[in-house]
């Protein structure tokens, strides 16, 4: 029982949530959102997609590393992100669409920092109409 992993099933369409460009994101369950509370192990500011490696520890002290896929540096840099947006060791609350097969991975929806500020992803950059 991982107390720090909360699952919320949303009544939203499958088209909601972040849409990445490099490939279809259909391996993630876009109808579900899961919230992780953890610590950034590594922020991979890379093509074709960024990844946030998050360490989540449950009450029994067991730590699981989650691999969270985000959009691309191309798209995110135009939304104000940079290679310095997240740093290793930072405590975050991260919302993501989980992998359909239940393994510890997902696609990024948003991150809330310890000070309450929100680091979000828009589906695409300004003017796209997506």
């Amino acid at each position: 029982m991982r107390k720090k992993v909360m699952t919320v099933v949303l009544m939203t369409l499958a088209t909601a949530g972040p849409v990445a460009a490099h490939h279809s994101f259909s391996m993630f369950d876009l109808k579900k959102e899961v919230v992780l509370q953890g610590v950034v192990k590594e922020f991979q500011w890379t093509n074709p997609h960024i990844w946030v490696q998050v360490l989540v520890t449950d009450e029994a002290g067991k730590t699981i590393e989650w691999s969270i896929e985000g959009n691309s540096p191309s798209t995110l840099s135009r939304q104000g992100w940079s290679k310095r947006t997240l740093v290793s060791g930072e405590k975050i609350t991260l919302t993501m669409h989980p992998l359909r097969d239940g393994s510890p991975g997902g696609s990024l929806v948003q991150i809330v920092r310890a000070d309450g500020s929100v680091v979000g992803e828009k589906a695409v950059y300004v003017g796209s109409g997506d």
């Binding site: 259909s26 391996m27 369950d29 510890p104 796209s128």
Partner: protein, 257 residues
């Protein structure tokens, strides 16, 4: 007569002004004063081939019945199971033509004597559109971007592309086309800050009729640069043996990767 009024008016208004971002409104190329379609352009509309459609289930390609049957089965399977076996770009193969012109990330257009060059940031693909009057090769090799020739009809750059590979998709929905596809594009400035590309696909193998869509691009803001894109830098979405897109997890030594 009336049809010439708008292009002439556009050219006159462009000739009188510079763009807000400092780019010249027109450029002299090959002895002609042309609308400056050069610069960095940002896509509007969805990622799909038809920019007005966001949900793959709503796409209406003019497929022949057997092609439509295959595509319907595919898109229903993706919607229900999340398994998409028809997206070669997940494995870092280039989108090719015409998918690259959806310009998921920005694209740059360069006007030089005898050639228009289109560079898409996504996958770093380059199209060379020959405007020096040459035709297509008699027996062209089949490539991702194909072979493109262009000519100006007033203020419209008309591009014809042939010899494209038949194993690329029209977009991430997994719409297929054949290697007999021919693409005609009409590129023009709607105003100094907006570029329109009207694309018509002719595919005698897959389609019953040509398919035309229009996509509009916004001129990039001053200082907005194209970025490097190397797909294999950190691609953690490999194509699995069954053709679907996977995720490479990291950490958790006890967890199979």
């Amino acid at each position: 007569m009336k049809k010439y009024l708008v292009p002439l008016g556009l050219i006159l208004s462009l000739a009188a002004a510079q763009f807000a971002n400092g780019a010249e409104a027109t450029v002299s190329v090959d002895g002609k004063r042309l609308p400056n379609i050069g610069g960095v352009w940002i896509r509007t509309g969805s990622f799909l081939f038809d920019p007005a459609v966001r949900n793959p289930l709503l796409l209406k390609p003019p497929y022949k019945p057997d092609w439509m049957k295959d595509f319907d089965a595919h898109r229903k399977r993706v919607a229900e199971t999340g398994v998409n076996t028809q997206d070669p770009t997940a494995g870092c193969l280039p989108p090719g033509m015409p998918r690259m012109m959806s310009a998921v990330y920005p694209m740059e257009v360069l006007l030089t004597p005898g050639q228009v060059t289109i560079i898409t940031e996504w996958m770093g693909q380059i199209r060379r559109v020959y405007t020096d009057g040459r035709g297509h090769p008699e027996d062209p090799d089949i490539t991702y971007v194909g072979h493109s020739t262009g000519k100006w009809e007033g203020d419209v750059l008309v591009i014809e592309t042939v010899a494209m590979k038949g194993d690329t998709m029209l977009d991430q929905s997994g719409m297929k086309h054949s290697d007999q596809i021919r693409v005609v594009e009409r590129l023009r400035l709607l105003d100094p800050q907006r570029l329109e590309n009207e694309l018509t696909l002719h595919d005698p193998v897959a389609f019953t009729a040509p398919w035309t869509v229009k996509r509009v691009f916004n001129r990039a803001k001053p200082g907005e640069e194209m970025r490097e894109f190397v797909c294999m830098e950190n691609n953690r979405n490999p194509i699995k043996p069954d053709g679907s897109v996977g995720v490479i997890l990291q950490g958790n030594e006890s967890t199979p990767k």
